[in-house]
Symmetry: C4
Subunit: 251 residues, 4 copies
């Protein structure tokens, strides 16, 4: 069996596409952001990636129909640069799998002559934040400056532990292939899925990409998570005031 | 050393065989069901699979004789479709091993032109059930409807976490090879081996396959497990009434 | 780098050699037994096996000199059948490594036309035993009978969990190569290294192989371990009588 | 993707170079020592090694710029023997990765005709030491004597558990390639990074290599760590006297 199997659904002709990655991770920020963008732009799926580096299981949809775990490629025709998306169910289970999957994604990206990559993720800070900032890291000082001008926050020592997984490796391995890139990280507690942080990431990214999308579905999801976390806090501590507290104790 | 070694004992000529898999898993439901069917039909072993993805050990029988850990293939000549079975001691130890073993099984299945697969397993629900339902998941909406008509239960959101291991991968990877399939999952507590749940799965499966078998051995085993679990409950809680309680605390 | 590297020191000409394996395991019984036999017979080392399946470290001797972790082959010229030994520092770290190493050992064994293998190990029973029995498992019913006649104990249901590691795999994989074999397991608590159990295994094995050796070094080691365990028991329970107690609580 | 990717920045012509390795490990002694030596000698980076055996992540510098995890080679032209250094962010994550990376480093070393290797590390002793000794282990008795004459301490039974990781494997695998070598281990508590122990290792090593360097930066770092550990001890035990206590309870 091949380690990574790529099923091609369509071979679109793309003009200088930009790759945008959002896979599961801290607060699922990257995955939520990428999938919202794909849905709102009605992007087209063109390739499906299966791999023995993913969990050995199938998923079952609401109708009882089975499908393999996958990472999926989408495209969207856009003025200037077309967009290519990578979203999916899981990241690779092992370090070796992570490297191999990132490498395989870049092989596809190279075929379409991708020169720039945005990877999306969450930056766990261990407490609730009202206005999550969008932190950045980039593959060159020039790109850091370009992103600063577009509202991305760069802070010395953040993220101190580097960027783990696909969002990091696609950029690191991408440089070796002549691609440049930026990781956009939405601040998040790290305890819950965080659509609000995803929205923050998307407001920066859509400005950079010059696309307009509706955020109402994301806002609805964020409200639902807010209600849930408020309920949890009230159960834990009925006399707490209304400030956002450090929720580190939930762990 | 080859990752997977297949020893061929016989090369039967099979007519449009259906593959039925039952390996160890939740409540050992799939393994018990498949082995009971193999025994009652007196199916013939025709291939043995060894692999370095299995535990690095040998098993010793009651006479002191050693044998390698294996997964085994059986066949049974039947009107309409012949039957092919996969049963054995263990599943693959690693995610990668799970994928490779499922792939190797499908290679054998392809040689015999298998077009339909039934995988058997348990669905752990964390408490004792008097009348375990048989839940299903299938590779197409058409097959879901077909199974519903035959008494298989499809419930939205079940199984929520997908189907892990051989029972899932054989179906997921099978689709990529042009095979269709169904997973039949007997409800089970998940705390004990569960012959009653296996019997439930088999009453549905034998109807689908149009075979008649005797269930008395399975019923005996179920009674023994029932006695044992009743004893355990009485030791734990001497004044409990006779209802089947939530046994989640045993964990 | 090759997964397994074999350094040949000498290419002895051996007559129908019997392979005897003793590597680290439960109570180190197999390793102690094999190394005592090698020392007493003054067997000659003829091959050294290094592998990335061993721990990534070097060992340092009392003079401060480094050597790689290894498994080593020895031979001893003997009437009837010559003897070949496998002893060493570690077993493979992973299941896959265990399979690959056992396979590589059998490749060497095949070159020397080995037809019979004895693997030595401990059988952990969770309590101290005054007179450890030597249990057996073999690759055929005929060999079981042969071993019974030589004093090896075969008990239904023992060992219930099979034989894990090199002592099992060499026999299981050996059968696939046309070799027959026996595993000799000395009963041991499983809490301490156990030279007395190793001596029990060797008294059976030397009778089978028809070799005479001195056991005094092994007896000295056994006395030292006895003293130590007696001291530990007295510290734990100063008023205990002198019987060998169940030491399961030490775990 | 290749398991190990080596990016060549420069192909220096080196005269009988000596390889010096210092990677992360106990107290980070080896890494601190090697990096201090590289900095003080202003050694030149000539090769960068990436690998899927390293953690699947990128590092971000203070300016927000990303780089892949790596191990790096440096050289320094010196009278008699030139020097080659190996330093970096991580060691391999798995045993197999450790072996493969050490093997790849030796392939580079062979190209430059390296005949002698010094590996640097810490020797964890579980308590604070005022004057850390520098213990050694070497690939031959002759080299042990040579090192003793230069002030390296060799003590029977130390290190009892061998030398784990790159510092061990480079020497063990190096012998198989005809290289000789020494591991220099600075005593350290094992609870903190330990620049003082690194300084101890370097005072011995610089004497061996006949290079002069400034130690003031290392002394400053050691003072900072000293202050920090003193503060921690005072918080833990305000009435403790000024002796260096056994700090094993910090674990």
């Amino acid at each position: 069996m091949k380690e990574i199997m790529i099923e091609i659904l369509e071979k679109p002709s793309l003009h200088e596409p930009i790759l945008i990655e959002g896979l599961p991770g801290v607060g699922n920020v990257g995955k939520i952001a990428a999938e919202h963008l794909i849905d709102e732009l009605k992007a087209t799926k063109f390739a499906v990636m299966h791999s023995k580096f993913f969990p050995p299981q199938v998923l079952v949809n609401d109708e009882g129909v089975i499908r393999m775990v996958s990472n999926d490629f989408y495209y969207y025709k856009h003025k200037g640069h077309d967009l290519m998306f990578l979203a999916g169910d899981y990241q690779g289970l092992t370090p070796e799998g992570q490297y191999e999957l990132a490498y395989a994604v870049l092989e596809i990206a190279k075929q379409y002559d991708v020169k720039r990559i945005f990877t999306l993720g969450g930056y766990g800070i261990g407490k609730m934040v009202k206005e999550p900032r969008v932190l950045g890291a980039a593959t060159s000082p020039k790109l850091v400056e370009e992103m600063k001008a577009l509202g991305v926050v760069f802070r010395k020592g953040e993220p101190g532990s580097g960027i783990v997984g696909a969002s990091g490796l696609l950029l690191g391995l991408g440089v070796l292939q002549g691609m440049e890139g930026v990781c956009l990280m939405g601040e998040t507690s790290g305890y819950f899925v965080d659509p609000k942080s995803a929205q923050g990431v998307l407001s920066v990214l859509t400005k950079i990409l010059d696309v307009q999308i509706d955020f109402s579905k994301l806002e609805n999801k964020a409200e639902q998570v807010d209600k849930l976390t408020t309920q949890i806090k009230e159960m834990e501590n009925p006399h707490a005031d209304s400030h956002f507290d450090d929720l580190r104790y939930i762990g």
